[in-house]
């Protein structure tokens, strides 16, 4: 319930402002990403949300997209901006079953 409220608070300003920037939220549940692939526009943010009861650590070692969101406790979320075109492979440092791709296209 709290998570839903939190999501609603996050979403509301964007809706009120009539922003065209899409909200991208990727859940992490049962040690897999909720989506295997998403497509975003350059500059858009992706929220990685830990819906599991174990800690995750989302990162990418794709050249040009390297990032490390560090340890994410259950119930928390972190945001990553993808600022240029390309394809980023996303992984969890702990769980090799967690693999996804972020396609960044104009």
């Amino acid at each position: 319930m709290l998570k839903m409220l939190f999501a609603a608070i996050l979403l509301t300003p964007a809706l009120l402002a009539g922003s065209t920037a899409a909200e991208h939220v990727v859940g992490q549940k049962n040690k897999v990403f909720a989506k295997a692939e998403i497509t975003v526009k350059p500059g858009e943010k992706v929220t990685f949300r830990n819906d599991d009861d174990v800690t995750h650590n989302v990162f990418s070692t794709t050249e040009g997209f390297r990032f490390n969101l560090k340890t994410q406790a259950p119930g928390t979320e972190s945001v990553q901006v993808f600022d240029h075109e390309g394809k980023a492979e996303i992984r969890c440092a702990f769980h090799p079953t967690m693999k996804m791709t972020v396609q960044v296209k104009k």
Binding site: D53, R66, A73, A93, F94
Partner: protein, 351 residues
């Protein structure tokens, strides 16, 4: 062959399961009491059922011929520089496909840095080696053969040597479209054989299938503690009792494990792959370096929340405050994961 065996076992299990459900319908969910506490361990069994069949990748489907070739290669010491050690030296069937040593013994009888992991149940694995540097068995199989410290045989020499053994040609011909011997085909055949190495039905499996008397009350309490207070199942999950994840669990080591592959990630330093717990009581000493001599010591490490507290220590590692009864119960449960397997037939090697 192995696939049929699994299906037959599963069929018998389903019948037992049905009988058990009928029995459960007429009694309380509490399965008994031990040390003054009620046990309700069966509520956790859903994720622990054995699978019906062994998976294989589309580009290397398991066939009897591939398994026969792969098994022959696996047991052939000519796959090492000195023709003195085969894959089975470190993955020895008599030791549940490990070697029973704290650390593996490689080329020239030199001790290596890490323990030989079992090859049990790798058909389902999503990461291979203690540090996960291979993602498939095909990718993994050629690693130790050519590693200087291990079998020390460069792949071109391996191929030349195998081509010089006429007895191998019919085995390759039976497996592939022709008798050409390549490193890729060697890897595929070894992987196909390894996929058939599956731990047998253990008392725990019979209990999961509904036989209430297959394991003791103490073991049931252990299984409950495993899934609750001790939180073992957060990584040792599913019927293999591993999710293939990597964590620093506070072992005494200077080996950075997966951290050496991902140097920028603090959380993964000193992290190693979660091993299966199948047949664990036959596979000591434990951890990636044999640093824990017994399962009692392993339980003690977890009870402490790790022996070494580093920045990379997994957030899942916390002191557990297990009682002596709970520790004994965990141990009793771990013993129920061991199957009584038939002896393995060693192939006659081609000349």
């Amino acid at each position: 062959m192995e696939l049929r065996t699994l299906q037959q076992k599963r069929g018998a299990g389903a019948l037992l399961n049905t009988l058990a459900l009928l029995a459960l319908a007429s009694c309380s969910p509490v399965e008994g009491t031990i040390a003054g506490r009620d046990i309700d361990a069966r509520r956790f069994v859903d994720q622990y059922h054995r699978p019906d069949a062994i998976p294989s990748p589309q580009d290397n489907p398991t066939s009897d011929a591939a398994v026969r070739l792969g098994k022959t290669l696996f047991f052939d010491p000519r796959l090492s520089a000195a023709s003195s050690m085969s894959c089975a030296n470190c993955h020895y069937p008599g030791f549940s496909w490990g070697d029973g040593n704290p650390r593996a013994i490689g080329d020239g009888m030199k001790e290596l840095g890490r323990r030989s992991p079992t090859i049990l149940n790798l058909a389902w694995a999503t990461a291979l080696f203690w540090d996960g540097r291979a993602e498939t068995l095909e990718e993994q199989a050629l690693g130790p053969i050519q590693a200087a410290g291990e079998m020390n045989l460069p792949l071109d020499q391996m191929v030349t040597r195998l081509r010089s053994i006429p007895g191998y040609q019919p085995l390759f011909l039976a497996t592939y479209a022709d008798q050409e011997i390549t490193a890729e085909r060697v890897a595929k055949a070894i992987a196909a054989f390894e996929r058939t190495v599956v731990s047998g039905v253990a008392p725990f499996d019979r209990w999961v299938s509904g036989d209430e008397n297959a394991i003791s009350q103490e073991a049931k309490l252990g299984f409950e503690v495993f899934n609750t207070k001790a939180n073992c199942a957060s990584c040792h999950s599913g019927w293999r009792f591993t999710d293939d994840s990597f964590h620093d669990i506070g072992t005494v080591t200077s080996d950075r494990g997966r951290g050496a592959l991902l140097e920028d990630l603090e959380s993964i330093q000193f992290a190693f792959k979660t091993p299966t717990l199948r047949n664990a009581d036959r596979r000591g000493p434990y951890m990636h370096n044999g640093s824990e001599a017994t399962l009692e010591k392993v339980i003690e490490l977890y009870d402490l929340g790790g022996r070494v507290k580093r920045a990379s220590l997994s957030p899942e590692m916390k002191p557990l405050n297990l009682s002596p009864d709970e520790k004994r119960a965990l141990l009793a449960f771990l013993h129920t994961l061991t199957s009584e397997d038939a002896p393995v037939e060693i192939p006659v090697l081609p000349r």
